[in-house]
């Protein structure tokens, strides 16, 4: 049983197109995240949802729109894709503890290539 699963694993698309990535977790966690990993392997947070409520929205272009229909699912829709959006997008989940996010558990990643 995969704990955090995201689909698709690979996306290849043209500039200007729109694409979506879906994520599901079966760990019963209350918080989910989207992280972006660039070509230098640096992981940077984009968004976080706690019980379906958006609690972190870093400096991300508004072409990126997350949606959490319930606390087990978090989707990411990207409009008008640009070359610089090419990266690996990771979904993660955690159960908050000690006033912090707790341990994050990551999906396998979705590699987006914009041509």
């Amino acid at each position: 049983d995969t704990a955090v699963s995201q689909t698709p694993k690979y996306l290849v698309t043209q500039m200007g197109n729109d694409k979506s990535i879906k994520c599901e977790q079966n760990l019963g966690h209350d918080t989910m995240y989207w992280y972006k990993q660039d070509s230098k392997k640096f992981l940077k947070i984009m968004f976080s949802y706690n019980n379906k409520e958006l609690i972190i929205n870093e400096t991300v272009p508004n072409r990126f729109s997350p949606k959490s229909p319930d606390k087990a699912h978090l989707n990411l829709h990207i409009n008008s894709l640009e070359l610089g959006d090419s990266a690996v997008y990771f979904c993660a989940s955690s159960q908050r503890k000690r006033g912090g996010p707790g341990e994050l558990f990551f999906g396998e990643g979705s590699r987006l290539t914009v041509l």
Partner: protein, 110 residues
């Protein structure tokens, strides 16, 4: 602003050659320091959480330690299967995110 710096960027070891990876951090009110392992084409895999200076955690050939300014990941008698990128992350006080370092790419050769 929270900062995490990992060194070295890359490390090549012979099998059995012990070494340490460093993670220096600047954060307001540390809630936790986390170590992850990432294999190529995979998501980061959780290894350890350390909450306070002086704390240590061990798992197989890995041992993580924490001071007020840095953390070390000690690898004892590494094997080729320990080859991966090791990521350090911090959780600041009152925050709900992990801030990651850029990682140390470890290669263990026979």
């Amino acid at each position: 602003e929270d900062q995490v710096t990992q060194s070295p960027e890359a490390l090549r070891l012979q099998e059995g050659e012990s070494s340490s990876l460093n993670c220096s951090y600047t954060v307001s009110g540390l809630r936790g320091l986390f170590w992850y392992r990432q294999d190529p084409g995979k998501g980061p895999e959780f290894l350890f959480t350390l909450y306070s200076a002086g704390e240590e955690k061990e798992k197989e050939r890995l041992k993580a330690t924490l001071t007020k300014k840095e953390s070390f990941l000690h690898i004892t008698a590494p094997k080729p299967e320990d080859s991966a990128t090791y990521l350090c992350a911090v959780s600041p006080g009152g925050g709900n995110k992990l801030t990651f370092g850029t990682g140390t790419q470890l290669k263990v050769e026979l």
